[in-house]
Amino acid sequence: MLGTLFGGRAEVNMGQVRVLVGTRKGAFIITSDGARRDWKIDGPHFGGWEIMHVKGSPVDPDRIYAAQWTDWHGQVVQRSDDGGRSWEPVGNEFAYRGQTGTHQWYDGTPHPWEFKRVWHFEPSHQDADTLFAGVEDAALFRSNDGGATWTELAGLRTHSSGQDWMPGAGGMCLHTILIDPANPRRMYVAISAAGAFRTDDGGETWHVATGGLSSNFLPEPEAKIGHCVHRLAMHPSRPDTVFMQKHWDVCRTDNAGEMWTEVSGNLPSDFGFPIIVHAHEPETIYVVPIHSDAEHYPPEGKLRVYRSRTGGNEWEALTKGLPQQDCYVNVLRDAMATDTLDSCGIYFGTTGGQVYASADSGDSWQALAENLPAVLSVEVQTLS
Protein backbone atom coordinates (compact mmCIF):
# COMPACT_ATOMS: atom_id res chain seq x y z
CA MET A 1 0.00 0.00 0.00
CA LEU A 2 1.39 3.39 -0.99
CA GLY A 3 2.13 6.11 1.50
CA THR A 4 0.99 9.68 0.80
CA LEU A 5 2.42 12.92 2.09
CA PHE A 6 0.22 15.51 3.76
CA GLY A 7 1.59 18.45 5.73
CA GLY A 8 5.06 16.97 5.72
CA ARG A 9 3.98 13.73 7.36
CA ALA A 10 3.99 10.37 5.65
CA GLU A 11 0.76 8.49 6.25
CA VAL A 12 -0.68 5.21 5.20
CA ASN A 13 -3.44 5.51 2.64
CA MET A 14 -6.31 3.71 4.28
CA GLY A 15 -8.51 3.63 1.24
CA GLN A 16 -10.66 6.24 -0.44
CA VAL A 17 -13.92 7.88 0.31
CA ARG A 18 -16.55 8.84 -2.24
CA VAL A 19 -19.34 11.09 -1.01
CA LEU A 20 -22.47 11.03 -3.16
CA VAL A 21 -24.44 14.23 -2.78
CA GLY A 22 -27.93 14.80 -4.18
CA THR A 23 -29.05 18.42 -4.34
CA ARG A 24 -31.95 20.46 -5.58
CA LYS A 25 -30.06 21.28 -8.77
CA GLY A 26 -27.88 18.27 -9.53
CA ALA A 27 -25.60 15.61 -8.08
CA PHE A 28 -22.05 16.06 -6.87
CA ILE A 29 -19.39 13.48 -6.13
CA ILE A 30 -16.80 14.50 -3.55
CA THR A 31 -13.74 12.32 -3.12
CA SER A 32 -10.73 12.04 -0.87
CA ASP A 33 -8.17 9.52 0.19
CA GLY A 34 -8.34 7.82 3.56
CA ALA A 35 -6.82 10.81 5.34
CA ARG A 36 -9.97 12.78 4.51
CA ARG A 37 -8.32 16.17 4.54
CA ASP A 38 -8.17 17.14 0.86
CA TRP A 39 -11.36 16.86 -1.16
CA LYS A 40 -12.25 17.15 -4.81
CA ILE A 41 -15.72 18.10 -5.98
CA ASP A 42 -17.00 16.70 -9.26
CA GLY A 43 -20.26 17.95 -10.75
CA PRO A 44 -22.92 18.96 -11.20
CA HIS A 45 -24.21 15.78 -12.76
CA PHE A 46 -27.74 16.16 -14.17
CA GLY A 47 -27.56 19.92 -13.65
CA GLY A 48 -30.89 21.58 -12.97
CA TRP A 49 -32.67 18.41 -11.85
CA GLU A 50 -33.59 17.52 -8.30
CA ILE A 51 -31.49 14.57 -7.25
CA MET A 52 -33.37 13.00 -4.41
CA HIS A 53 -30.87 10.24 -3.73
CA VAL A 54 -27.63 8.73 -5.02
CA LYS A 55 -26.44 5.41 -3.67
CA GLY A 56 -23.83 2.82 -4.61
CA SER A 57 -24.06 -0.94 -4.54
CA PRO A 58 -22.35 -2.64 -1.58
CA VAL A 59 -21.52 -5.48 -3.98
CA ASP A 60 -19.96 -3.38 -6.73
CA PRO A 61 -19.09 0.16 -5.60
CA ASP A 62 -18.72 1.32 -9.19
CA ARG A 63 -22.43 0.62 -9.68
CA ILE A 64 -24.28 3.74 -8.54
CA TYR A 65 -27.94 4.63 -8.87
CA ALA A 66 -29.34 8.16 -8.92
CA ALA A 67 -32.95 9.29 -8.55
CA GLN A 68 -33.41 12.29 -10.86
CA TRP A 69 -36.64 14.26 -10.93
CA THR A 70 -38.32 17.53 -11.78
CA ASP A 71 -41.90 18.72 -11.68
CA TRP A 72 -41.62 19.28 -15.44
CA HIS A 73 -40.39 15.91 -16.60
CA GLY A 74 -41.07 13.53 -13.76
CA GLN A 75 -38.85 10.64 -12.83
CA VAL A 76 -35.61 9.57 -14.47
CA VAL A 77 -33.37 6.86 -13.07
CA GLN A 78 -29.66 7.01 -13.81
CA ARG A 79 -27.15 4.21 -13.43
CA SER A 80 -23.37 4.37 -13.50
CA ASP A 81 -21.04 1.42 -13.90
CA ASP A 82 -17.83 3.37 -13.49
CA GLY A 83 -18.14 5.06 -10.14
CA GLY A 84 -20.08 8.06 -11.41
CA ARG A 85 -17.86 9.11 -14.30
CA SER A 86 -20.56 8.26 -16.84
CA TRP A 87 -24.27 7.59 -16.53
CA GLU A 88 -26.99 5.79 -18.42
CA PRO A 89 -30.72 6.45 -18.02
CA VAL A 90 -32.56 3.23 -17.21
CA GLY A 91 -36.18 2.39 -16.48
CA ASN A 92 -38.45 5.09 -15.10
CA GLU A 93 -41.84 3.37 -15.15
CA PHE A 94 -43.20 2.74 -11.67
CA ALA A 95 -46.64 1.22 -12.09
CA TYR A 96 -48.66 0.17 -9.06
CA ARG A 97 -49.75 -3.45 -9.29
CA GLY A 98 -53.38 -4.42 -9.41
CA GLN A 99 -56.11 -2.20 -8.11
CA THR A 100 -54.62 1.12 -7.13
CA GLY A 101 -57.02 1.95 -4.32
CA THR A 102 -57.04 5.07 -2.21
CA HIS A 103 -55.33 6.56 0.80
CA GLN A 104 -56.44 9.54 2.85
CA TRP A 105 -55.88 13.02 1.50
CA TYR A 106 -55.02 15.98 3.72
CA ASP A 107 -58.69 16.69 4.30
CA GLY A 108 -59.47 13.10 5.18
CA THR A 109 -61.13 12.23 1.89
CA PRO A 110 -60.08 9.17 -0.14
CA HIS A 111 -57.40 9.94 -2.72
CA PRO A 112 -56.10 7.55 -5.38
CA TRP A 113 -52.51 6.47 -5.22
CA GLU A 114 -50.47 8.43 -7.79
CA PHE A 115 -46.78 7.93 -8.49
CA LYS A 116 -44.82 11.15 -8.18
CA ARG A 117 -41.14 10.35 -7.64
CA VAL A 118 -38.49 8.17 -6.08
CA TRP A 119 -37.25 9.29 -2.69
CA HIS A 120 -34.76 6.57 -1.86
CA PHE A 121 -32.81 3.74 -3.50
CA GLU A 122 -31.55 0.84 -1.43
CA PRO A 123 -29.25 -1.51 -3.36
CA SER A 124 -29.08 -5.16 -2.38
CA HIS A 125 -26.21 -6.47 -0.27
CA GLN A 126 -26.10 -9.62 -2.42
CA ASP A 127 -26.52 -8.55 -6.05
CA ALA A 128 -25.49 -5.34 -7.81
CA ASP A 129 -28.43 -5.59 -10.22
CA THR A 130 -31.01 -5.77 -7.46
CA LEU A 131 -32.25 -2.67 -5.70
CA PHE A 132 -35.32 -1.29 -4.00
CA ALA A 133 -36.98 2.07 -4.54
CA GLY A 134 -39.10 3.90 -2.02
CA VAL A 135 -41.51 6.20 -3.80
CA GLU A 136 -44.24 8.82 -3.39
CA ASP A 137 -47.15 8.01 -3.17
CA ALA A 138 -45.84 5.51 -0.71
CA ALA A 139 -44.91 2.16 -2.19
CA LEU A 140 -41.91 -0.11 -2.49
CA PHE A 141 -40.55 -1.23 -5.85
CA ARG A 142 -37.87 -3.74 -6.72
CA SER A 143 -35.65 -4.09 -9.76
CA ASN A 144 -33.67 -7.24 -10.53
CA ASP A 145 -32.09 -5.90 -13.72
CA GLY A 146 -30.11 -2.89 -12.63
CA GLY A 147 -33.04 -0.50 -12.76
CA ALA A 148 -34.24 -1.35 -16.27
CA THR A 149 -37.65 -2.53 -15.01
CA TRP A 150 -39.48 -2.12 -11.74
CA THR A 151 -42.05 -4.29 -9.98
CA GLU A 152 -44.03 -3.15 -6.99
CA LEU A 153 -43.99 -5.22 -3.82
CA ALA A 154 -47.67 -4.54 -3.49
CA GLY A 155 -48.12 -6.27 -0.16
CA LEU A 156 -47.06 -3.06 1.54
CA ARG A 157 -49.40 -0.64 -0.23
CA THR A 158 -52.28 -3.07 0.02
CA HIS A 159 -51.75 -3.61 3.75
CA SER A 160 -55.08 -3.41 5.54
CA SER A 161 -54.09 -0.04 6.96
CA GLY A 162 -53.23 1.49 3.57
CA GLN A 163 -56.55 3.24 3.14
CA ASP A 164 -55.80 5.17 6.35
CA TRP A 165 -52.34 6.42 5.40
CA MET A 166 -52.07 10.13 4.81
CA PRO A 167 -49.33 12.41 3.48
CA GLY A 168 -47.15 14.67 5.56
CA ALA A 169 -46.47 18.17 4.32
CA GLY A 170 -43.73 16.86 2.02
CA GLY A 171 -45.95 14.24 0.42
CA MET A 172 -46.74 10.64 1.25
CA CYS A 173 -43.28 9.27 0.74
CA LEU A 174 -41.58 5.99 1.48
CA HIS A 175 -38.21 7.46 2.40
CA THR A 176 -36.36 4.81 4.41
CA ILE A 177 -35.49 1.24 3.50
CA LEU A 178 -33.31 -0.84 5.83
CA ILE A 179 -32.25 -4.32 4.78
CA ASP A 180 -30.75 -6.84 7.17
CA PRO A 181 -27.54 -7.70 5.28
CA ALA A 182 -27.47 -11.21 6.78
CA ASN A 183 -31.12 -11.90 6.06
CA PRO A 184 -32.42 -9.91 3.11
CA ARG A 185 -35.94 -11.16 3.73
CA ARG A 186 -36.01 -8.88 6.79
CA MET A 187 -36.56 -5.23 5.86
CA TYR A 188 -37.91 -2.12 7.53
CA VAL A 189 -39.47 0.81 5.73
CA ALA A 190 -40.74 4.16 6.97
CA ILE A 191 -43.47 6.29 5.46
CA SER A 192 -44.46 9.87 6.22
CA ALA A 193 -46.99 10.03 7.73
CA ALA A 194 -48.07 6.41 7.99
CA GLY A 195 -45.37 4.97 10.24
CA ALA A 196 -42.88 2.11 10.20
CA PHE A 197 -43.35 -1.37 8.77
CA ARG A 198 -41.36 -4.61 8.81
CA THR A 199 -41.32 -7.59 6.51
CA ASP A 200 -39.79 -10.96 7.33
CA ASP A 201 -40.57 -12.60 4.00
CA GLY A 202 -38.81 -10.37 1.49
CA GLY A 203 -41.68 -7.91 1.12
CA GLU A 204 -44.65 -10.16 0.55
CA THR A 205 -46.32 -9.32 3.85
CA TRP A 206 -45.78 -6.45 6.25
CA HIS A 207 -46.29 -5.83 9.96
CA VAL A 208 -46.93 -2.43 11.47
CA ALA A 209 -43.84 -1.70 13.57
CA THR A 210 -44.99 1.21 15.70
CA GLY A 211 -45.69 -0.33 19.10
CA GLY A 212 -45.10 2.15 21.90
CA LEU A 213 -44.89 5.23 19.67
CA SER A 214 -46.86 8.28 20.71
CA SER A 215 -47.59 11.34 18.57
CA ASN A 216 -49.51 14.15 20.20
CA PHE A 217 -50.89 15.46 16.92
CA LEU A 218 -52.90 12.26 16.39
CA PRO A 219 -56.45 11.99 17.71
CA GLU A 220 -55.26 8.81 19.36
CA PRO A 221 -51.59 9.47 20.19
CA GLU A 222 -50.76 5.76 20.50
CA ALA A 223 -52.54 4.76 17.28
CA LYS A 224 -50.73 2.18 15.19
CA ILE A 225 -50.97 4.26 12.00
CA GLY A 226 -50.27 7.94 11.41
CA HIS A 227 -46.89 8.51 13.03
CA CYS A 228 -44.66 10.80 11.03
CA VAL A 229 -41.46 8.79 11.07
CA HIS A 230 -38.67 10.92 9.67
CA ARG A 231 -35.91 8.35 9.53
CA LEU A 232 -34.81 4.91 10.73
CA ALA A 233 -31.26 3.66 11.26
CA MET A 234 -29.84 0.24 12.05
CA HIS A 235 -26.38 -1.18 12.65
CA PRO A 236 -25.89 -4.19 10.37
CA SER A 237 -24.76 -6.37 13.26
CA ARG A 238 -28.00 -5.80 15.23
CA PRO A 239 -31.00 -6.12 12.95
CA ASP A 240 -33.48 -6.21 15.85
CA THR A 241 -32.32 -2.83 17.13
CA VAL A 242 -33.55 0.16 15.16
CA PHE A 243 -33.29 3.85 15.96
CA MET A 244 -35.90 6.39 14.90
CA GLN A 245 -36.06 10.14 14.49
CA LYS A 246 -39.75 10.92 14.56
CA HIS A 247 -41.54 14.20 13.90
CA TRP A 248 -40.99 14.71 17.59
CA ASP A 249 -39.07 12.14 19.69
CA VAL A 250 -35.97 10.05 19.16
CA CYS A 251 -36.76 6.41 19.83
CA ARG A 252 -35.27 2.93 19.76
CA THR A 253 -36.58 -0.59 19.55
CA ASP A 254 -34.72 -3.75 20.46
CA ASN A 255 -37.35 -6.16 19.25
CA ALA A 256 -37.70 -5.24 15.60
CA GLY A 257 -40.32 -2.56 16.04
CA GLU A 258 -42.71 -4.41 18.32
CA MET A 259 -42.08 -1.85 21.06
CA TRP A 260 -40.32 1.50 20.89
CA THR A 261 -38.88 3.50 23.76
CA GLU A 262 -38.19 7.21 23.69
CA VAL A 263 -34.49 8.03 24.14
CA SER A 264 -34.55 11.78 23.53
CA GLY A 265 -32.97 12.35 26.94
CA ASN A 266 -31.11 15.66 27.21
CA LEU A 267 -31.40 16.76 23.58
CA PRO A 268 -32.18 20.49 23.22
CA SER A 269 -35.00 19.51 20.86
CA ASP A 270 -36.17 16.05 19.90
CA PHE A 271 -37.43 17.28 16.54
CA GLY A 272 -35.20 16.59 13.57
CA PHE A 273 -34.85 14.58 10.41
CA PRO A 274 -31.76 12.34 10.10
CA ILE A 275 -30.48 9.68 12.47
CA ILE A 276 -27.50 7.42 11.83
CA VAL A 277 -25.47 4.76 13.63
CA HIS A 278 -21.68 4.74 13.94
CA ALA A 279 -20.09 2.20 11.60
CA HIS A 280 -18.28 0.28 14.35
CA GLU A 281 -20.16 1.11 17.55
CA PRO A 282 -23.77 -0.14 17.43
CA GLU A 283 -24.77 1.96 20.44
CA THR A 284 -23.31 5.22 19.13
CA ILE A 285 -25.91 7.27 17.27
CA TYR A 286 -26.18 10.77 15.83
CA VAL A 287 -28.98 13.26 15.28
CA VAL A 288 -29.18 16.93 14.29
CA PRO A 289 -31.82 18.63 16.44
CA ILE A 290 -34.03 21.22 14.80
CA HIS A 291 -35.85 23.86 16.80
CA SER A 292 -39.39 22.72 16.05
CA ASP A 293 -41.81 21.52 13.43
CA ALA A 294 -42.65 25.16 12.74
CA GLU A 295 -39.05 26.41 12.65
CA HIS A 296 -36.84 24.05 10.70
CA TYR A 297 -33.46 25.33 11.81
CA PRO A 298 -31.08 24.58 14.66
CA PRO A 299 -31.86 25.86 18.15
CA GLU A 300 -30.14 29.16 18.96
CA GLY A 301 -28.70 29.40 15.44
CA LYS A 302 -26.00 26.86 16.38
CA LEU A 303 -25.43 23.91 14.09
CA ARG A 304 -24.85 21.04 16.48
CA VAL A 305 -24.68 17.34 15.83
CA TYR A 306 -25.60 15.36 18.91
CA ARG A 307 -23.96 12.03 19.64
CA SER A 308 -25.02 9.40 22.11
CA ARG A 309 -22.59 6.62 22.95
CA THR A 310 -25.23 4.90 25.05
CA GLY A 311 -27.84 4.22 22.41
CA GLY A 312 -29.78 7.33 23.38
CA ASN A 313 -30.84 9.29 26.47
CA GLU A 314 -27.37 10.72 27.15
CA TRP A 315 -26.31 13.11 24.40
CA GLU A 316 -23.31 15.37 23.82
CA ALA A 317 -23.13 18.29 21.43
CA LEU A 318 -20.50 18.12 18.69
CA THR A 319 -19.62 21.62 17.56
CA LYS A 320 -15.94 21.89 16.67
CA GLY A 321 -15.74 23.23 13.13
CA LEU A 322 -19.49 23.83 12.80
CA PRO A 323 -21.05 27.33 12.73
CA GLN A 324 -22.14 28.33 16.22
CA GLN A 325 -23.96 31.54 15.46
CA ASP A 326 -26.45 32.81 12.91
CA CYS A 327 -26.92 29.38 11.33
CA TYR A 328 -30.44 28.63 10.12
CA VAL A 329 -30.07 25.66 7.80
CA ASN A 330 -31.77 22.30 8.04
CA VAL A 331 -30.43 18.79 7.54
CA LEU A 332 -32.86 16.60 5.66
CA ARG A 333 -33.64 12.98 6.44
CA ASP A 334 -31.44 11.35 3.81
CA ALA A 335 -28.58 13.83 4.15
CA MET A 336 -26.41 12.14 6.80
CA ALA A 337 -24.17 9.08 6.48
CA THR A 338 -20.98 7.39 7.68
CA ASP A 339 -17.98 5.86 6.06
CA THR A 340 -16.51 2.60 7.38
CA LEU A 341 -12.87 3.52 7.81
CA ASP A 342 -11.26 2.56 11.13
CA SER A 343 -11.75 6.05 12.44
CA CYS A 344 -15.37 6.36 11.44
CA GLY A 345 -16.24 9.35 9.27
CA ILE A 346 -19.53 11.18 9.71
CA TYR A 347 -21.00 13.31 6.90
CA PHE A 348 -24.00 15.53 6.45
CA GLY A 349 -25.33 18.12 4.04
CA THR A 350 -27.50 21.15 4.69
CA THR A 351 -30.25 23.03 2.97
CA GLY A 352 -27.73 25.89 2.76
CA GLY A 353 -25.53 23.87 0.42
CA GLN A 354 -22.78 22.95 2.86
CA VAL A 355 -21.41 19.44 3.21
CA TYR A 356 -19.58 18.76 6.45
CA ALA A 357 -17.40 15.79 7.35
CA SER A 358 -15.76 14.50 10.46
CA ALA A 359 -12.90 11.99 10.28
CA ASP A 360 -13.01 11.35 14.02
CA SER A 361 -16.52 10.14 14.77
CA GLY A 362 -17.85 13.67 15.09
CA ASP A 363 -15.29 15.22 17.43
CA SER A 364 -14.30 17.79 14.80
CA TRP A 365 -15.70 18.87 11.46
CA GLN A 366 -14.60 20.43 8.20
CA ALA A 367 -16.63 21.76 5.30
CA LEU A 368 -16.14 19.76 2.12
CA ALA A 369 -18.35 22.11 0.16
CA GLU A 370 -19.93 25.40 1.15
CA ASN A 371 -21.92 26.66 -1.80
CA LEU A 372 -23.80 23.79 -3.36
CA PRO A 373 -27.54 23.89 -4.01
CA ALA A 374 -29.68 22.73 -1.10
CA VAL A 375 -28.56 19.23 -0.17
CA LEU A 376 -31.23 16.53 -0.31
CA SER A 377 -29.14 13.43 0.31
CA VAL A 378 -25.68 12.28 1.30
CA GLU A 379 -24.30 8.78 0.98
CA VAL A 380 -20.73 7.64 1.47
CA GLN A 381 -18.77 4.84 -0.16
CA THR A 382 -15.61 3.54 1.43
CA LEU A 383 -13.36 2.21 -1.31
CA SER A 384 -10.38 -0.08 -0.90
Partner: protein, 99 residues
Protein backbone atom coordinates in the same frame (compact mmCIF):
# COMPACT_ATOMS: atom_id res chain seq x y z
CA UNK B 1 -43.94 12.77 -43.27
CA UNK B 2 -41.08 14.49 -41.47
CA UNK B 3 -41.91 16.74 -38.53
CA UNK B 4 -39.44 19.06 -36.84
CA UNK B 5 -39.73 19.08 -33.05
CA UNK B 6 -38.16 21.49 -30.57
CA UNK B 7 -37.63 20.01 -27.11
CA UNK B 8 -36.86 21.76 -23.81
CA UNK B 9 -33.23 21.81 -22.80
CA UNK B 10 -33.44 19.07 -20.18
CA UNK B 11 -34.98 16.68 -22.68
CA UNK B 12 -32.41 17.56 -25.33
CA UNK B 13 -29.74 16.69 -22.78
CA UNK B 14 -31.41 13.37 -21.94
CA UNK B 15 -31.77 12.52 -25.63
CA UNK B 16 -28.25 13.78 -26.40
CA UNK B 17 -29.49 16.28 -28.94
CA UNK B 18 -27.83 19.57 -29.85
CA UNK B 19 -30.91 21.22 -31.34
CA UNK B 20 -34.26 20.53 -32.95
CA UNK B 21 -34.93 17.00 -34.10
CA UNK B 22 -36.67 15.70 -37.19
CA UNK B 23 -38.83 12.62 -36.74
CA UNK B 24 -40.63 10.48 -39.25
CA UNK B 25 -44.34 10.25 -38.51
CA UNK B 26 -46.13 7.42 -40.25
CA UNK B 27 -49.82 7.34 -40.93
CA UNK B 28 -51.64 9.65 -38.57
CA UNK B 29 -50.80 13.32 -38.81
CA UNK B 30 -51.70 14.07 -35.19
CA UNK B 31 -50.20 15.41 -31.98
CA UNK B 32 -50.17 11.90 -30.52
CA UNK B 33 -48.38 10.54 -33.57
CA UNK B 34 -45.58 13.08 -33.21
CA UNK B 35 -45.15 12.23 -29.53
CA UNK B 36 -45.24 8.51 -30.31
CA UNK B 37 -42.49 9.05 -32.86
CA UNK B 38 -40.36 11.02 -30.41
CA UNK B 39 -40.71 8.36 -27.72
CA UNK B 40 -40.02 5.58 -30.19
CA UNK B 41 -36.82 7.18 -31.41
CA UNK B 42 -35.74 8.31 -27.93
CA UNK B 43 -37.03 5.79 -25.36
CA UNK B 44 -35.30 7.76 -22.62
CA UNK B 45 -37.99 10.41 -23.07
CA UNK B 46 -40.84 8.05 -22.21
CA UNK B 47 -42.60 9.40 -19.17
CA UNK B 48 -40.95 12.82 -19.39
CA UNK B 49 -43.48 14.50 -21.74
CA UNK B 50 -46.50 12.27 -21.19
CA UNK B 51 -47.17 10.16 -18.14
CA UNK B 52 -46.58 6.45 -18.30
CA UNK B 53 -49.77 4.45 -18.52
CA UNK B 54 -52.29 7.23 -19.12
CA UNK B 55 -50.25 9.07 -21.80
CA UNK B 56 -51.56 12.32 -20.33
CA UNK B 57 -49.51 15.44 -20.99
CA UNK B 58 -47.47 16.22 -17.92
CA UNK B 59 -48.85 19.23 -16.11
CA UNK B 60 -45.85 21.50 -16.68
CA UNK B 61 -45.50 20.66 -20.38
CA UNK B 62 -47.14 22.59 -23.22
CA UNK B 63 -47.38 22.05 -26.97
CA UNK B 64 -47.22 24.95 -29.41
CA UNK B 65 -47.16 25.27 -33.19
CA UNK B 66 -47.86 28.04 -35.68
CA UNK B 67 -48.47 30.49 -32.86
CA UNK B 68 -51.20 28.32 -31.35
CA UNK B 69 -51.34 26.60 -27.98
CA UNK B 70 -52.23 22.99 -28.75
CA UNK B 71 -51.79 21.79 -25.17
CA UNK B 72 -55.45 21.20 -24.48
CA UNK B 73 -56.31 19.74 -27.86
CA UNK B 74 -57.22 16.05 -27.87
CA UNK B 75 -54.23 13.82 -28.73
CA UNK B 76 -55.76 12.81 -32.07
CA UNK B 77 -56.07 16.43 -33.18
CA UNK B 78 -54.55 16.80 -36.67
CA UNK B 79 -51.32 18.72 -36.86
CA UNK B 80 -51.44 22.15 -38.48
CA UNK B 81 -50.68 21.67 -42.20
CA UNK B 82 -47.53 23.81 -41.88
CA UNK B 83 -46.15 21.40 -39.27
CA UNK B 84 -47.14 18.31 -41.24
CA UNK B 85 -45.41 19.74 -44.30
CA UNK B 86 -42.22 20.41 -42.37
CA UNK B 87 -42.39 24.19 -42.76
CA UNK B 88 -43.16 24.93 -39.11
CA UNK B 89 -41.78 23.50 -35.86
CA UNK B 90 -43.77 21.56 -33.26
CA UNK B 91 -42.69 22.95 -29.89
CA UNK B 92 -42.63 20.96 -26.64
CA UNK B 93 -42.24 23.63 -23.99
CA UNK B 94 -41.62 23.51 -20.27
CA UNK B 95 -43.69 25.89 -18.16
CA UNK B 96 -41.96 28.98 -16.86
CA UNK B 97 -41.79 28.25 -13.16
CA UNK B 98 -39.48 27.19 -10.43
CA UNK B 99 -36.60 28.64 -8.51
Amino acid sequence: MTVTVALPVHLRTLAQLDGDVEVEVDGRSTIAAVLDAIESRFPVLRGTIREHGTARRRAFIRFFACGRDLSHEPPETPLPPEVASGNEVFYVVGAIAGG
